[in-house]
Amino acid sequence: MTLAVRAEALRSTYPGSTVPALDGFDLAVPAGTVHGLLGPNGAGKTTAVRILTTLLRPDSGHAEIAGIPLSDAAQVRKRIGLVGQYAALDEILDGRANLVLFGRLAQLPAAAARQRADELLEQFDLVDAAMRPVSTYSGGMRRRLDLAVGMIRRPAVLFLDEPTTGLDPRGRAEVWSAVRAMVADGTTVLLTTQYLEEADQLATRISVLAAPHGAGGRVIAEGTPDELRTLIGGDRIVLVVRRPADLPAAAALLERIGDGEPEVDADLQRVTVAATDRLAALSATLPGLAAAGIDAEDVQVRRPTMDEVFLQLTATAVR
């Protein structure tokens, strides 16, 4: 199987810092897949992307993009597209001029750059806005144009660093749909995100990076979204009670229904438990409430938060 991205034992410490940003980072992304790098702020996601896109030299370790070592930066740059955390666009120029500019700088001849720009405007639904300055674009439109610029030379690997951070739900949906279309087109994508849901929605496989304190800068778990969900005990059932006196009974109920130890928050009168099968757990909870005589205010099913993911993964010490 061809690997689009291969990284082995990458290490990097920023000057002036004592804690390494990356500390033995490994990655293998097969061509044609979407790989999610999931982690909180400071886990080293952006550092990994900066190294793999030749913007930063690692202190040690080895990495290849489409079989080409990073040391051959000029060749690597011909095979990657980078969409950073902030839309890196020329605000004064219009959308089409941005695409042509970056196309020319990606070494496309003038005519090909213009043709490719028109193609991408259509593909990313920006034809109507093509002649407007980018400064008039909405957040979602900027991101779409940014993705289009990343695709200007049909990269072997497209790097997306937190592509939806700062977007409203509508903008997020637009970007997800654009990423899915690129993947359907055969592009390999390496995506970093702080949102479990985003990795879940888009990624074929996910690498979880540890929180910065302690074992930061390395992958603590890797697998398909389903494998990871199993590893972290699936979704969460949250039960909020009206009377504090009901908390022990609620905890007992959720312990029976869920997978693992329920967590009780006395202040918020709330009990939370992991549940591998969310629907089965939910349908067992409702009759259980009546049977135990618990006066419930609210029952919710939700995805685990990043905090819970890391708590669980570090607790089970998966390596």
Binding site: L55, A74, D90, I92, P109, E119, A181, M182
Partner: protein, 288 residues
């Protein structure tokens, strides 16, 4: 809404004009650097076309300062000859200095927007990014200078020693601007916040005043006089006065007697120091 359309351009086989094996690699990268520079210069010039108000302010500001000094302060000023005419070459030089913060702002903006990182992730030439900046900024300063020359003539300044000498004077002014572009790029790659830009902008005037641009350094206290005479701006202004036959301050030291020579040497020294540092800093990116 988003179509996963397959490209009609086969980029895999695209005959990237400069990507072919039979072209030698140094020649290939030279040609590609040239194209990249042209594309980036085009980008900056497109900015001028789309923001004409900004260009108008850049051009009008030195005109305003010239008029202030010529007609508001000028009555009090002394020169061997008409002060207003002596002032005009000083303002030409000052206009080159005003470009410093403009260059710096452009570099900082690209860095903050992530455009610099995107450039660095593309298979393009490093020097082209900086060269494109340099060419575009020279164009802007040349436009500002052309307008100021017209105003200078209206104030009474003339190219008394012929067109060739005047052209040489313009050449020296743009050479100074070229040197200041590299200073601006270097500052821009090092600035960490907008405050640094404001600081440079604020310091432009004191730097211009501490020279022979507006007054004769001989009127200053000894230490300041030394600094003002050795200020590279003074050499350019004095050289322009000499080449245009404008009244100037009497030469009293080695540096003021060799104005034309030093108007060539100073900018070259500045470029020799700042350009390699700027290129190195750019290659490192924002990591160090």
């Amino acid at each position: 809404m988003i179509k996963g359309k397959t490209s009609s351009i086969d980029l895999g086989k695209q005959p990237f004009a400069l990507d072919q094996r039979h072209i030698s690699e140094p020649l290939e990268s030279l040609l590609s650097a040239f194209t990249d520079t042209r594309v980036l210069t085009g980008r900056y010039l497109a900015h001028l076309r789309r923001r004409p108000a900004q260009l108008a302010v850049t051009v009008a500001f030195p005109v305003m300062i010239l008029l202030i000094f010529a007609f508001l302060f000028g009555g009090m000023m002394q020169a061997p000859g008409d002060y207003r005419i002596a002032l005009v070459p000083g303002m030409f030089t000052m206009t080159m200095l005003f470009g410093l913060s403009a260059t710096m702002i452009a570099v900082v903006t690209d860095r903050q927007r992530g455009i610099t990182d995107r450039f660095r992730s593309l298979p393009m030439s490093v020097s082209a990014v900086l060269a494109g900046r340099a060419v575009a900024d020279l164009v802007v300063s040349a436009i500002a200078l052309a307008v100021l020359i017209v105003v200078g003539v209206a104030v009474g300044w003339r190219a008394e020693r012929g067109l060739a000498a005047a052209a040489a004077a313009v050449g020296l002014l743009l050479l100074l601007r070229f040197a200041l572009i590299w200073v601006g790029i270097l500052f821009g790659t090092r600035a960490h916040n907008a405050g640094a830009v404001t600081a440079v902008q604020t310091l432009e005037f004191p730097l211009g005043f501490l020279s022979g641009l507006f007054v004769d350094p001989a009127t200053m206290p000894p230490v300041l006089r030394q600094i003002a005479e050795w200020n590279p701006l003074s050499s350019t202004a004095a050289a322009v006065r000499e080449l245009s036959g404008s009244p100037g301050w009497p030469s009293s030291s080695w540096i003021s007697e060799h104005a034309v020579l030093m108007a060539v040497v100073w900018p070259l020294v500045i470029v020799a120091i700042t350009a390699p540092l700027a290129v190195r800093r750019y290659r490192q990116g924002d990591n160090a």
